[in-house]
Symmetry: C2
Subunit: 344 residues, 2 copies
C-alpha cells in the first residue's frame, strides 16, 4: 500500500498533517518537536506493584467491594477474575432508563444518567500486571468483557458499551491493582458516532473497509493467525498502537474464546514491547467497537479494534481547543522501532 514515506520507511523531515480515515481526526506530525523515536521514554514509569494491605481488589477482600456480577471460575473462593459493580459509578442502574428531555425553551438537552459502570478485577494478586498473565489468562479477561457486554445488550436503552483500561496514575488510574472498566451508556457517544460516520464515508467512496485498509507493511508491528498490531497512519499519540482482527467484524463481543487466547498473546507482546521500549509507561487501552442494536449486515463498513495508548505527553491548550493533536513521532518510525524490539 502506498504511503508518503520513502521505501526505507524513513519519515519526512517537514511537518505534515494527516487525516485518519477511521477516526476522522487531523493530526500534525512535527519532526521539529521530536526527539529521535528511539529516545522516547516515559518520565513516570510504573513500579511493579507492592503488595498493599488495604486493597479491596485483592483476594480475601471481596467484602470491601461493591456487589459482584460474576467471577471466573464461578462459585470459587480461589477466583482468577471478578466482574463487580463500581463503588462510585458515573452512571446509575437504579434510576429510570434514559428519556431525552429536550427543554425547548432553552434548547438544553438532558438525559437521565441511567447506565452501568462495572470493574473487572483482572487478577487476584496485587503485584501481577496484565502483561504478566499468560495469553490464555489475558484471553479470559477479554472473554469476561464480551460476556458482560452480552448481558448488557438485553437493556434496550443501552446504546453503546465502552471497555477500557487505565494503568498507572498519570493514565488516570486511581487503583493500582490490575483492572479494567466497562461502561454501558444510554447514548452513542460523539467519538463513536464520528468514527462510524468516517468509516461509512470511506466505504461509500472506495467500497473498502478503512480498518482493513490500515494494514500496510510500513505500519505493521506484529502479526498472528487472525490479528495484526499496527501503528495507525495518523496516530493521535506517539507510539499509539491498534490490534485489529483480520476477519472483518463489526462487534468486539463476537470474539470467541479461542481467538481471545490468540488476541491475548498479541496484546501481551504489544504491552511487553511498549514496556521495554518506552520505560514501562502508564497507558490506556480502549475497545473501539460498534453501537449495540445494529447488526453486522447493517454495518459493512465497521470493524472493531483495540487501541493502546502509552502516556508520554500532555494534552494541552492546543488539543483542547482544536481537537487536533500534535504527534512528534511519525507512525512509520514508531512501527519500525516497535517491530524491532526484542522480547525475550
Amino acid at each position: 500500500m502506498a504511503s508518503s514515506s520513502s521505501s526505507d520507511s524513513s519519515a519526512p523531515q517537514t511537518p505534515q498533517l494527516r487525516k485518519d480515515s477511521v477516526t476522522n481526526r487531523w493530526v500534525i506530525f512535527s519532526p521539529a518537536r521530536a526527539k529521535r523515536p528511539s529516545d522516547f521514554k516515559s518520565k513516570t514509569p510504573i513500579n511493579p506493584n507492592q503488595q498493599q494491605q488495604q486493597c479491596p481488589f485483592c483476594i480475601g477482600h471481596e467484602h470491601e467491594c461493591a456487589p459482584e456480577i460474576f467471577r471466573v471460575p464461578p462459585d470459587n473462593p480461589d477466583w482468577k477474575l471478578r466482574v463487580i459493580q463500581n463503588l462510585y459509578p458515573a452512571l446509575s442502574r437504579d434510576i429510570p432508563a434514559a428519556e431525552e428531555e429536550n427543554n425547548s425553551d432553552s434548547g438544553r438537552v438532558v438525559v437521565n444518567g441511567f447506565g452501568f459502570h462495572d470493574v473487572v478485577i483482572e487478577t487476584p494478586v496485587h503485584s501481577v500486571q496484565l502483561s504478566d498473565l499468560s495469553p490464555r489468562e489475558i484471553g479470559e479477561v477479554l472473554v469476561a468483557h464480551t460476556r458482560r457486554i452480552k448481558q448488557l445488550m438485553s437493556y434496550d436503552s443501552i446504546k453503546y458499551v465502552q471497555v477500557f483500561k487505565n494503568h498507572g496514575a498519570s493514565a488516570g488510574a486511581s487503583m493500582s491493582h490490575s483492572h479494567s472498566q466497562i461502561m454501558a451508556l444510554p447514548v452513542v457517544p460523539p467519538a463513536v458516532a464520528t468514527r462510524l460516520g468516517s468509516m461509512k464515508e470511506y466505504f461509500d467512496q472506495t467500497g473498502k473497509c478503512s480498518v482493513c485498509e490500515s494494514n500496510s507493511k510500513d505500519l505493521l508491528i506484529d502479526v498472528s493467525a487472525h490479528f495484526i498490531s499496527i501503528v495507525p497512519f495518523a496516530a493521535t499519540f506517539p507510539f499509539e498502537m491498534w490490534i485489529i482482527p483480520l476477519d472483518h467484524s463489526s462487534h468486539f463481543y463476537e470474539l470467541d474464546s479461542e481467538k481471545a487466547v490468540e488476541l491475548g498473546g498479541l496484546l501481551k507482546l504489544v504491552l511487553r514491547k511498549m514496556s521495554l521500549q518506552l520505560n514501562n509507561p502508564p497507558f490506556n487501552f480502549m475497545v473501539q467497537t460498534s453501537p449495540l442494536g445494529e447488526n453486522a449486515s447493517q454495518l459493512p463498513y465497521s470493524h472493531w479494534f483495540l487501541q493502546i495508548v502509552p502516556q508520554l505527553s500532555v494534552v494541552a491548550g492546543f488539543e483542547m481547543g482544536t481537537g487536533c493533536y500534535i504527534n512528534p513521532v511519525f507512525p512509520e518510525d514508531a512501527a519500525k522501532v516497535l517491530r524491532e524490539v526484542k522480547v525475550s
Copy 2:
C-alpha cells in the same frame, strides 16, 4: 432561563447526561464521583515562579529566542510583551502552502504542514503571572493576539488561528515564564467544525445564538459592562469557565482595545477566583472563535468566547474512547461557589 435544577441552585442527586448546544458534546454529571464542590483543590498547585538564570523569555535574554515578530512598545529595549516565533514549531512557515494530497489508492489524506506557530511572552519578568498584571496589561496581551491574527489573515491558505495558554507543568507548559501561543492552521480543525455545526443547528432550530443563550442566572459568575463569566450548562471539566462578550460577535479579532481592557479585568477576576478557590491550579485557556475568511454576516449563529479550564482531573480511557467526559461537579454548583469567592 429554565434549568433542571431547583430554584435554590442545588443540583440533582442522580447522575445526568447533558449535551452542550455549543460544543455538541455529551457530558456525564456524576454526583457519586464527587467530593463537595467546595472541597475541590488542585493537588499540583503552582508555586510562584522563582527567578531563573536560564530563561530565554526573560528580559535581557532576547538573543536566546527564535526571531521576534513584534514587541510592545515597539523598538523599546524595555518591552512589556513580545510576540516571537516558536523555536520548535509544530508547523513550518518555510514550506509551500498546504495542498490536499489525497492518495486515492489508499484513501490516505495528507496535507503539507504549512502554518505558523508563535509565542507571546506576556511579561518581561519571570516571577509575574498573567493574573498579576493589571486589567490594562492583560488587555494589551489580548490585543497582541488579535493583532497577530490580523497579520496571519493575509495568508489565503490559513483557515483557522488557535490562541491558547498553558500554565503549569501538568497543564502541559514546558516553559514557566508567563506566555501564550498562537497557531495558524491550514485546515479548520475538527472541534471547531463541530462547534460551528452545532451552533448552526441550534440557530436553525430556535432562531437564537447558542452562546448568547448560555447566559442564565444559575450559571453566572460575574458580569461587566460588555462581558459575562459563566460556567457552561454542560461544562466538560469541573469548574470550566467561559467569558462571553455580550455583543453577539463571531470573531475574537474584532475585539477593540477599549473592550480588551474590560475583558482583561474580568479575566483577571476569574483567574484570581479560580486560584483562591481551587488552590492555584495549573490551567489552560483557549480562544474559541470562527474560521478566517468567513465574515460576520455569513455567521449569524457564531459567537466567540474564552474558555478557561483548571487542571483538576485526568482524562483517561473512557474519555479517550468515547469523546464523552465525566464531570463530578454540576455547573450550577460550580457557578455558585465561584460567584461567592471573595477577592480582596
